[in-house]
């Protein structure tokens, strides 16, 4: 959207909201006003940096070894003549991590199309199967290799967690992929997958925001994207300005959150020890 149009839309929304507020804000839960203000200000920060990136401003992103390794892994598989196994997690498309996993799959599919490497994507949910197929189909078309795309490269196994882990393990042991990528939401099956991948000598790259599984992936995989690095993967791989701007905006938001934490800690310490000031937690607690 051009700058002028963007500011017109923002002005319109602001006017509508002001009118709504002045009319007595019917149905609005006033106790959650702080949260609304937070969402709007944090979104505004994100939008500012996204638009700055679209205008050509360059932002530095620190190199993430795991994302550099993705292309190396695809190259390794091509040289060895073995497929790549991509596991987009075991949850459905209602989880943000699964959507992020499908997005990264699109980028990996572009690389496999370019290098003419076979790609195997066993999935645990039918909707993920459809979304992943579309992502792969588009990737192969963009790379000019629609002939290489085969619908069955993305195939459904089962919804059950451990049955799925058993099925993926079977694929690993029989087909011996050269590279295994685990990008999405995982639970206890993460170590089963990673250890089996390790036993077949595959290079393993994992990315998840499932906090409890991060240690297992860090221990068993060659490279791991931890938490936000996984969400930023799409920006890194595509190098699109708007996505890079979003990552920069995220970092700025984190600075704001750190400042609020430090400020709140100081305020609460003063309030609880001297009674001076106010209980800032009352304002920050949302119900």
């Amino acid at each position: 959207m051009k700058d002028r149009n963007f500011w017109i839309v923002i002005a319109l929304i602001t006017v509508v909201f002001l009118v709504y507020w002045l009319l007595g804000h019917p149905y609005f839960i006033t106790e959650r006003a702080v949260m609304l203000f937070s969402i709007i200000s944090l979104s505004a920060t994100l939008m500012y940096y996204i638009r700055a990136a679209e205008r050509g401003e360059e932002f530095y992103l620190r190199p993430i070894p795991a994302l550099k390794a993705v292309e190396e892994a695809v190259g390794r598989s091509t040289e060895m003549g073995r497929p790549i196994l991509y596991v987009p997690g075991i949850q459905d498309m209602d989880q943000v991590e699964t959507v992020a996993g499908v997005v990264v799959l699109g980028h990996v599919a572009r690389m496999t199309a370019r290098y003419e490497t076979s790609l195997n994507v066993p999935v645990s949910r039918s909707i993920v199967m459809k979304a992943a197929r579309e992502a792969c189909r588009e990737a192969y078309m963009v790379e000019g290799r629609p002939d290489m795309f085969n619908e069955d490269m993305v195939h459904y196994m089962t919804d059950d967690q451990f049955a799925y882990a058993a099925g993926v393990n079977g694929i690993m042991v029989r087909e011996k992929p050269a590279a295994c990528m685990y990008m999405g939401k995982f639970y206890a099956e993460s170590l089963i997958l990673a250890e089996t991948g390790n036993s077949i000598g595959a290079i393993q790259i994992a990315g998840t925001a499932s906090q409890a599984q991060i240690p297992f992936f860090v221990t068993a995989c060659d490279y791991t994207l931890i938490g936000e690095e996984f969400f930023a993967a799409s920006a890194y791989l595509s190098q699109k300005p708007e996505l890079i701007g979003g990552v920069k905006g995220q970092d700025m938001i984190k600075l704001v959150v750190i400042a609020i934490i430090v400020f709140s800690m100081v305020m609460m310490t003063i309030f609880e020890s001297t009674g001076f000031g106010f209980n800032i937690l009352e304002y920050l607690t949302i119900r």
Partner: protein
């Protein structure tokens, strides 16, 4: 020197041992203590004691919601917790309402009720306990229970109308319960109950989780949004010792203790081998 070199060679061999030897040794050290129990003393931690104290402090006849969300895969960790909690609740004559956020949870709940409610305490279905059953939807089920439980559960797991169940009188939403205990192995589970039910309404809750989940759940325990937590099989064994009734968790602790010691031994041996290798590569 040659003797020292021979010893170093042995450690280097241990350092590069085939993983299948590790698997065999782990299998032996887990099986043997189960067959020949050692009887190690169980010491209850503060987090488990908080759960016990919270349930013990409930007045007789309290309405307690027990939510079962685990499957047969984590039965060794979660099922002993469920059994012990049920024993504690039935011993204190509490009214127990069981719901399940996982489909497998209903099977687990039925097994536990058969063993405890019917087998040990002769409790009457519909008066002392009711199995509401599983409903799909994850956190939507939690939100539904918070707003209107009767809209979500028109019949129980036995297809009996909820209106015809005596102990459902007066129960319309989550606030009508005095306590919630969630035996959880993942999503949806403990965190959804904290976020959508216990914290917004102020109804006290506690949970029993698998060892892996304790990390995710501990911030809620520390902030007071949950009253203690039973952490994995050790937590289940601690609760069994608190209610003075040993079960499968207690017998599993011997095996877990020995297995952990063996893993530590492997790590130490692996590091010795690592240092020898590093020393030799520096030399050459």
């Amino acid at each position: 020197m040659s003797r020292l070199n021979k010893i170093e060679d042995i450690f280097l061999k241990i350092g590069s041992v085939d993983r299948r030897w590790i698997f065999i040794i782990i299998a032996i050290v887990v099986i043997v203590p189960i067959l020949v129990p050692i009887g190690l003393p169980i010491r209850a931690t503060d987090t488990s004691k908080k759960v016990y104290d919270a349930i013990e402090a409930l007045p007789k006849g309290s309405n307690v919601l027990l939510s079962i969300e685990y499957s047969p895969s984590t039965k060794p960790e979660n099922h002993p917790m469920t059994i012990s909690i049920m024993r504690h609740l039935f011993r204190n004559n509490q009214k127990v309402y069981i719901t399940c956020l996982w489909p497998d949870g209903q099977f687990m709940a039925q097994d536990a009720l058969k063993q405890v409610a019917e087998g040990e305490f002769n409790k009457i279905y519909g008066e002392d306990y009711v199995l509401l059953g599983y409903r799909p939807g994850g956190e939507a089920v939690v939100k539904g229970i918070v707003s209107n439980i009767r809209k979500l559960f028109s019949v129980d797991a036995r297809q009996t109308k909820v209106d015809d169940i005596p102990m459902m009188d007066g129960i319309t939403n989550f606030k009508d319960f005095d306590f919630l205990f969630s035996a959880s192995a993942g999503y949806p589970g403990t965190i959804e109950w904290v976020q959508y039910a216990a914290d917004p309404t102020g109804v006290p809750m506690s949970s029993g989780v698998t060892s892996i989940q304790v990390n995710e759940v501990m911030p809620y325990v520390q902030s007071g949004q949950m009253v203690g937590v039973l952490a994995g099989m050790p937590g289940a064994a601690e609760y069994e010792s608190l209610i003075n009734q040993k079960g499968s968790a207690t017998s599993g602790m011997d095996a877990q203790s020995v297995a952990h010691l063996v893993i530590v031994l492997f790590i130490v041996l692996g590091n010795i081998s690592f240092f020898i290798e590093r020393k030799r590569s520096k030399k050459y």
